[in-house]
């Protein structure tokens, strides 16, 4: 380790990265820096207490806090290499200022630091259940995203009631329904409760919420009756060939068997084709009607049509029409008029497409010019970076060597020089640095 206050201190990579690593954890866990944890509970920490989450899969033992026994939240590591949630350690430390694991005296400020980024990343990636699980949100999401989900997107998050004078909260999903904080009676158990709680009560809590199906005798939740009816094997359904004439009604579980024997099944494929044809026919009829309208419009020159239909038609042909009103005479028949109309349109389209091609060409040229420049700059930056890297390595090496021989007083300095000799440097090969480097310092 280099002694403190050497110029390289700021350059040594491990130092800076661990300081950086602490920033995100701090903001998330609410004052989670090893240096004393200023501030009690920022608003972000209040939204979701990560320590109370339920994890979808078993969590690796190494990621578990030895105090709270769940996955670490805002992990800090002590100088004796034990990892705890920041808040757990602070609480334990307040009672007894030692490391909870080995009981060695521990200074919270100077002898702990945030755990390495890789640990934080692993924790961030753990899958957790939405804390609104009990209210019906079954989302499973990475732990780093759960707060965002809960505060912004989860339908089951409790938010203030939209009614200005009401102080209750309501699940986000029901905000649009107005204030639901009035008493109602559950129709199944006759218990009284707020309207806002009725649905959950009937889905999960009501003692009479379950009911046996009268048809199939399976138990289902009353509130979900409609869903059960869609799959109940005993409900009467009509044959799937009913559109082709089968009039039989039978229970759902029989329908399958009947379908294979139904007299109308041979008609089935034909019927499907028929249906296809029928829909095509409708489309064609629709088109036909459109055409009829246009023809009528043209015959009447648009004057007698109701406005709503006319606007669309006029916009299509308004350009030529404005000019043709006056010189209609040259055209001998309507056919000729249409022909000319068509020609005008065609030339217009041609002009447009050529313009488009031109624009496209210009655009791609511009793009190429721009990227070429950027590419050049990039190469330049890359080479500068390489040179810088070499300088830094050389300087660090130089320092280390220098420190190694403090007191020895020898000016001879093993180590590498800047430039392409870097790769072949041999620490045992003494070389006089002062000549080259001091007189021609690297241009940074």
């Amino acid at each position: 380790m280099p002694p403190p206050n050497t110029p390289e201190e700021g350059v040594v990579a491990t130092n800076t990265s661990s300081i950086l690593a602490l920033r995100p954890s701090m903001s998330r866990d609410g004052g989670g820096d090893g240096g004393g944890g200023g501030g009690g509970g920022p608003s972000s920490a209040a939204a979701v207490d990560l320590r109370l989450l339920e994890y979808e899969d078993a969590v690796d033992e190494n990621l578990i806090c030895p105090i709270c026994r769940v996955a670490l939240v805002g992990p800090v590591i002590t100088n004796c290499d034990h990892v705890f949630c920041h808040r757990c350690l602070v609480q334990a430390h307040a009672l007894n200022p030692v490391c909870p694991v080995d009981r060695l005296p521990l200074k919270l400020v100077s002898e702990t630091r945030p755990a390495p980024k890789i640990v934080q990343n692993q924790l961030d990636n753990l899958n957790v259940r939405c804390p609104n699980h009990a209210r019906g949100c079954h989302l499973v999401v990475a732990r780093s995203l759960v707060e965002n989900h809960v505060t912004r997107y989860c339908d089951k998050t409790m938010v203030p009631c939209p009614h200005p004078s009401c102080e209750h909260t309501v699940v986000r999903n029901d905000v649009g329904k107005g204030c639901l904080h009035y008493d109602v009676q559950c129709e199944y158990c006759e218990g009284n409760m707020l309207k806002a709680d009725l649905e959950i009560h009937q889905d999960q809590k009501c003692p009479n919420r379950k009911k046996d199906c009268e048809l199939c005798s399976a138990e289902f939740v009353r509130n979900k009756q409609e869903e059960h009816m869609k799959e109940c094997p005993e409900v009467e359904v009509s044959c799937k060939y009913a559109p082709f004439g089968c009039t039989q009604q039978m229970s759902r579980k029989m329908a399958e068997g009947h379908g294979e024997k139904c007299d109308y099944r041979v008609v089935g494929p034909v019927g499907e084709q028929l249906a296809e044809l029928r829909s095509e026919l409708t489309a064609l009829q629709e088109k036909d009607r459109m055409k009829d309208r246009r023809i009528k419009f043209l015959e009447n020159r648009g004057y007698t049509l109701p406005a709503s239909n006319a606007t669309e038609a006029i916009s299509d042909i308004s350009l030529p029409e404005s000019s043709t009103n006056a010189d209609m005479a040259p055209y001998e028949s309507r056919d000729q008029y249409f022909l000319s109309l068509f020609e005008t349109m065609e030339s217009k389209v041609e002009r447009l497409s050529s313009a488009l091609a031109e624009v496209e060409g210009r655009h791609s040229m511009m793009l190429i010019n721009e990227t070429l420049q950027i590419k050049d700059q990039l190469t330049e930056i890359r080479s500068t970076l390489g040179v810088l890297g070499m300088h830094v390595r050389w300087l660090m090496n130089f320092r280390l060597q220098e420190r190694g021989r403090v007191g020895a007083g020898s000016p001879a300095m093993p180590g590498s020089l800047a430039g392409n000799q870097q790769g072949t440097s041999d620490p045992n090969l003494p070389r006089r640095l002062s000549d080259t480097m001091r007189e021609h310092p690297p241009r940074l």
Binding site: R51, A92, L95
Partner: protein, 154 residues
Amino acid sequence: MSGLGPKRLGKELTKIQNSLPPGITLVSADNLEEWFLDIQVLDQNPLYAGQTYRLKFKFSKSYPIEPPEVTFTKTDNRPIPMHPHIYSNGIICLDLLGSQGWSPVQNVESVCMSIQSMLTGNTKDERPPGDEEFVRGNRLRPRDIDFYYHDNTV
């Protein structure tokens, strides 16, 4: 810090319901405030051979930051073990149960094991000094007695 204790106790309970070291059995844990466990001394220490002792754990809201309150409980076939650190009313003087010796990484299982080994290593068939007087008059909470004990010996 509410909410932490119940969650961790729940986890501990699941674990000890599945497996416990030899000589330790869970008697009841009907809630997250008070549990009962039986312990036996497994080696042939003549003081404790063939006996089973019942431990009562009481958890405060701030468990595991604060230690649980652990005492021996006397019933028909569960006596209070003889030990120079165990009062005849069941109060145990064990430094890891005091707020100075406690560490939140301890748990019910490890406390049982510590008490087990405390009995295993004992050879003196006696009560702490001043036991009778203490049991008669003193109604301190076990945690406070810890200090009392240490003050007298150190």
